[in-house]
């Protein structure tokens, strides 16, 4: 499966979910596909923490679905992220783990345990109940509704080819990402994120 085709399909099914992307490719491709600067937190400095970051968010906005992307490079650094996810078992959290067996954002340097890493088995081993694995667009599109649109903490393994993509980062500095996303959360959920309330008048 092609990385950009998989992300483009997921983006085409995006409605009101909050989205967290991770370092490098997933942030760049999601921004290239959607151009969104409000409903996405581009966590480009994620270093294996995008899914736990999403857990913190999802726990506080239980009525809002949250999609989070990570890569298998991040997964190798911090597979215990799934222990935290399982512990919290948030029904509004869907974790897309994009696997290309390389550190894709750093010139496709091969991963440790590259070929043998069985990510769905690892997820099940940590007790996660809703685990899906898609290696083709046909599989992804055929099962998307069941895997993604139904409620329940879900881990989705997307097996994609390495690619030589080097797109532009979303054109915002960190604080702008924070304020745009945080203000959107405030408007969408009624929760107060920042100490100074937004004057909608």
């Amino acid at each position: 499966m092609k990385y950009d085709e998989a992300v483009a399909y997921i983006a085409s099914r995006w409605t009101d979910e909050l989205v967290i992307t991770s370092a490098g490719t997933s942030s760049e491709i999601w921004y290239a596909e959607t151009g969104d600067t409000e409903r996405v937190f581009y966590l480009e400095a994620s270093m294996s923490l995008s899914s736990v970051f999403a857990c913190g968010l999802a726990e506080g906005v239980p009525d809002k679905p949250v999609w989070v992307f990570s890569g298998d490079g991040a997964f190798c650094m911090n597979p215990g992220m799934l222990q935290v996810e399982r512990q919290m078992n948030l029904p509004n959290l869907t974790h897309f783990m994009v696997s290309n067996r390389v550190y894709g954002s750093t010139s496709n340097v091969p991963l440790p345990g590259r070929i043998d890493n069985d990510y769905p088995a690892i997820a099940r081993g940590f007790g996660i109940e809703r685990v899906y694995s898609f290696g083709s667009m046909n599989e992804l599109t055929a099962t998307f509704d069941e895997a993604v649109m139904e409620e329940g903490h879900t881990f989705i393994h997307l097996e994609v080819d390495p690619m030589d993509y080097r797109g532009a980062s979303p054109p915002m500095d960190g604080p702008e990402v924070k304020f745009r996303f945080g203000r959107y959360v405030e408007k969408a959920t009624g929760k107060q994120v920042f100490s100074a309330p937004l004057d909608n008048g």
Binding site: F41, L43, A45, L49, G56, L57, A58, E59, V185, V193
Partner: protein
Amino acid sequence: MEDNLAASQRSATHATKTGYSAEVSQEIADVCADAGISLVATLPDDWIASTIATFEQDDRFNHVPVNREESALGLCSGAFLSGTGSAALMGASGLMTLVYAITKINYTYEIPIFIMITQRGTFDDGAKFHVSNGLYLEDVINSIDMPYTIVESRDQIPMIGEAYHHSRKISRATVAVLPKKLLQGKI
């Protein structure tokens, strides 16, 4: 297998037997609750086992034991964006592993985070393997300009709430340092 609550109670009993104060743990929890903290992510250290158990057993908190200190930081940073007050509780050694994550996530995006740590490596710490914390902990904290406060006695426990609010005010990381004698109820 015993459930989480039973395991937490067993840990708390052990912590009390080894000299750590359940009353101080409760005072810390009360100050955190009053400050608006409702999510607490923890990694263990002998000195704070009682405090971790207190958070686990107190319904005012969603206590999340995490797999590593960086996950506590990620979790609390995401929680901020949902308007949830949070704290990370860990040993001093845990903070020593966090320089990269704090500077990358919290400094890049200006996301506040509040961290409570043990003051390992002091003269009353019998563990030789914490010598490095005694030598370098404060220097490491200062190297990335994190405001911190050492809670020197029980009457200073309210400073934990002040340190939390300060993190929100400056959109950066702040640290409250918990000495051994404080956690034992001796100062």
